[in-house]
């Protein structure tokens, strides 16, 4: 990872992208959210108390490649996922945004904290954690190549997590 001064995407631009991604997820704008991802994207939500370095051997809440991201969205859009029928009412804050540097692929690494409040029939649930992103410029547009969501309570019994976090 190189110094953050060399990054392709500056903090303000990165923030705007993160906020847009958060809004599309909160609004259940599934097509808009899916369109943010690159073709080689990975969406990862680790579970368990370990450092979660290897999702191929450690349990994840979600570990999607691009095809699975599409399937996840298609299922949400089908209306047949009863865990999102009706959809959760969700609003999230994305804060403490930092540009962390550039990875080997040239993607800009961005870190943030998030706090999401989800209301549904079972009650109101607070979700919080660390969100890490790798952003890439594709034809002048920022796209999301990688997102890891590390929940603060990932090593505990979690209620159903069925919205796009």
């Amino acid at each position: 990872m190189t110094a953050s001064t060399d990054v392709a995407i500056d903090l303000r631009t990165a923030e705007q992208f993160l906020y847009r991604e958060a809004r599309l997820a909160d609004d259940h704008d599934y097509d808009g959210w899916e369109a943010l991802w690159t073709d080689d994207a990975v969406y990862w939500i680790p579970a368990g108390g370990m450092s979660a370095v290897d999702p191929t051997t450690q349990v994840s809440i979600a570990f999607d490649n691009r095809s699975r991201i599409h399937t996840r969205v298609a299922q949400l859009k089908s209306g047949k996922r009863h865990s999102q029928s009706p959809p959760s009412s969700v609003r999230r804050l994305v804060t403490n945004v930092e540009v962390m540097g550039t990875d080997d692929a040239g993607d800009t690494c961005v870190g943030a904290n998030f706090l999401a409040v989800e209301a549904r029939e079972r009650g109101t649930t607070v979700w919080a954690g660390r969100a890490e992103y790798r952003l890439r410029l594709v034809d002048g547009e920022i796209r999301l190549a990688w997102k890891k969501v590390t929940l603060v309570d990932r090593d505990r019994a979690l209620p159903t997590l069925s919205f796009l976090i």
Binding site: T56, I61, D64, R68, H82, S83, R122, P159, S162
Partner: protein, 87 residues
């Protein structure tokens, strides 16, 4: 890079793991809320009872979504709890 495994899933094909987890746990959460309601006190397990039948071998037959297995479990339980046992 191949991405696979590491998902909490059900007894279904690996391709659908993690997608069903949320729906499964949602079902458990709703069941739990239903049980906690305490009214009515009885759980209905009569889905498909109108089409339950015995085949020529005496096996109980129902459709895939019917609650035949649940009824079977409790019929057997009642039998065990009520049958005469040798002294």
């Amino acid at each position: 890079m191949t991405l696979w495994a590491g998902r909490v899933g059900t007894g279904l094909a690996p391709q659908v793991w993690a997608f069903l987890l949320a729906d499964d746990s949602e079902m458990y959460e709703r069941n739990q809320r239903g049980v906690q309601a305490r009214t009515p006190e009885w759980l209905q397990i009569k889905r498909g009872m109108h089409r339950e039948r015995l085949d020529e071998n005496g096996h109980t037959i129902g459709y895939a979504t019917d609650e035949v297995p649940l009824r079977g479990i409790w019929r057997h339980y009642r039998q065990l709890m009520t049958e005469e046992r040798p002294a």
